[in-house]
């Protein structure tokens, strides 16, 4: 039984047909890396999964909830689907701890004590136990991104969407964020990542999805896909990035 099931979705921006019948099934605990050139529709696909973008045809079901363009249903869905962004999007007027506590307090109605303890626990998990009271602008990019991951985890999502979460980081900070993802995989978290980290996709990911011109061009177990790409488009993409 798949946790995320995407069935023949089509997405248009006006005249521009950006997703042309995409299918994707993600099993619980699976780590899926979506790769492809910019403009291939990979980020759009990811943003359709939690309703940040509406799609025009097809169906997406996450954790037996249909993803529809309805504010109330999307709010319910957001408890199952977490998202981490390229630019962190931490709330600048709140400390790291307050960022993590906010949604459990407002959405789940947790009291301050419970959410504080939980936030502290999550920050420790991402290696930032001593940064509870630090404001985002006093943290490095890698630290901010780890706070953002902790913030998503605070809602206990079933699947975590990661939209190029290392692309805005200095190279020496990428490792600390990827380490957290590895740890999450080891704990059985389902991850769908749009990424340019090919080594991570190959070594940690279970499945690779190569998108090209709004379609899933090639997909399969990550070691196989990288070892023997079938299409010429993927061959040229891999030789360009690796």
């Amino acid at each position: 039984m798949s946790l995320v099931s995407i069935d023949q979705i089509h997405k248009y921006y006006g005249e521009n047909h950006v997703l042309k019948g995409v299918d994707l099934k993600v099993a619980p605990g699976e780590v899926v890396s979506i790769i492809g050139r910019s403009g291939s529709g990979k980020s759009t696909l990811l943003r359709c999964i939690n309703g940040l973008e509406a799609y025009q045809q097809g169906a997406i079901v996450v954790d037996s909830q249909a993803v529809e363009d309805d504010e109330y249903k999307l709010r319910l869905l957001s408890r199952s689907v977490g998202m981490v962004f390229q630019n962190f999007n931490l709330f600048p007027h709140m400390t790291a701890g307050e960022n993590v506590m906010l949604a459990p307090k407002l959405v789940l109605g947790q009291d301050s004590k419970t959410s504080r303890a939980h936030a502290q626990e999550l920050l420790e998990k991402v290696g930032l136990g001593d940064k509870f009271d630090a404001y985002p602008n006093n943290l490095s990019g890698g630290q901010q991104q780890r706070v953002a991951i902790a913030r998503s985890l605070a809602m206990s999502p079933k699947v975590l969407l990661c939209d190029e979460i290392t692309s805005a980081l200095d190279p020496e900070l990428v490792g600390e964020v990827l380490k957290v993802l590895e740890q999450l995989k080891a704990e059985g978290m389902t991850l769908i990542l749009v990424t340019h980290e090919m080594n991570f996709a190959r070594d940690v990911g279970d499945t690779v999805v190569f998108m090209h011109q709004g379609k899933v061009w090639e997909t399969g177990p990550s070691d196989e896909v990288f070892a023997s790409p079938q299409t010429s488009e993927l061959q040229s993409f891999i030789s360009a990035v690796l």
Binding site: N50, L52, E71, L74, R75, L76, S78, R79, V81, G82, M83, F85, N87, N89, L90, F91, P92, H93, M94, T95, L102, A103, L106, V107, Y135, N137, A148, R151, S152, M155
Partner: protein, 222 residues
């Protein structure tokens, strides 16, 4: 240029000046509070997903920002009684100041809201927050902080502008100055003193806002 300053001539009118200062402070405190509240609601209205709400708030803002304050005041005090709405000078002056600050601060706060990165809304959405929660908890506080200096200036402008309400016999500071001047003919002294008093009030106001900012904005460098 051999004018002899005669401030002692104003001494009998000090009670009037004191009462005037107090009235100006009272007007300013209440209109600052209510005006900023109205401006916040207005900024939310200008940002509403309903077109009618956006248009109505837009009309209000443009009407107030494009007509003189004294005309707005006279309309409320002298005009509205024609509709059976009779207001005291205090009520009319207060309403005029609140409505005026409300319109200007709507636009100022809206500018702060417009500068919010789209990612802030998206992060709130993916965490399951409602639109209202995102607006109040995530968007509004940094927006306020961004435009705080402009809001402070606007509040001071409204305080200084309150001099105009002396025109409907509201006994605030400028009214006291006019009163003393007309009795003593010490125009130079009366208005010099009044100018200094307004200057002191404005500087005190700026200080208070700076003090409040330290409490309000826990992260000073957003």
């Amino acid at each position: 240029m051999s004018y002899q300053l005669n401030f002692s001539g104003l001494l009998p009118y000090l009670p009037q000046f004191a009462a005037g200062i107090w009235a100006t402070i009272e007007l300013t405190l209440i209109s600052t509070f209510l005006g900023l509240l109205l401006g916040t609601i207005g900024a939310a209205g200008r940002n509403s997903r309903y077109r009618v709400a956006r248009a109505l708030w837009g009309c209000y803002v443009e009407i107030i920002r494009n007509t003189p304050f004294i005309v707005q005041l006279f309309f409320i005090f002298f005009g509205l009684p024609a509709l059976g709405l009779k207001l005291s000078a205090w009520q009319a002056g207060m309403i005029a100041m609140v409505v005026n600050l409300g319109a200007y601060s709507t636009e100022i706060i809206r500018a702060g809201i417009d500068a919010t990165p789209k990612g802030q809304w998206e992060a709130g959405k993916t965490l399951g927050l409602s639109r209202r929660q995102i607006f109040i908890r995530i968007v509004l506080p940094p927006a306020f902080q961004r435009v705080y200096p402009a809001l402070v200036s606007q509040c001071i402008i409204v305080m200084l502008g309150s001099a105009v309400v002396s025109q409907i016999s509201l006994e605030e500071l400028t009214f006291a100055a006019n009163f003393a001047q007309s009795r003593t003919f010490l125009s130079f002294e009366s208005y010099l003193l009044t100018a200094v008093l307004y200057l002191v009030l404005a500087l005190l106001m700026r200080q208070s806002f700076a003090f409040a900012a330290k409490r309000l904005f826990k992260n000073p460098s957003l």
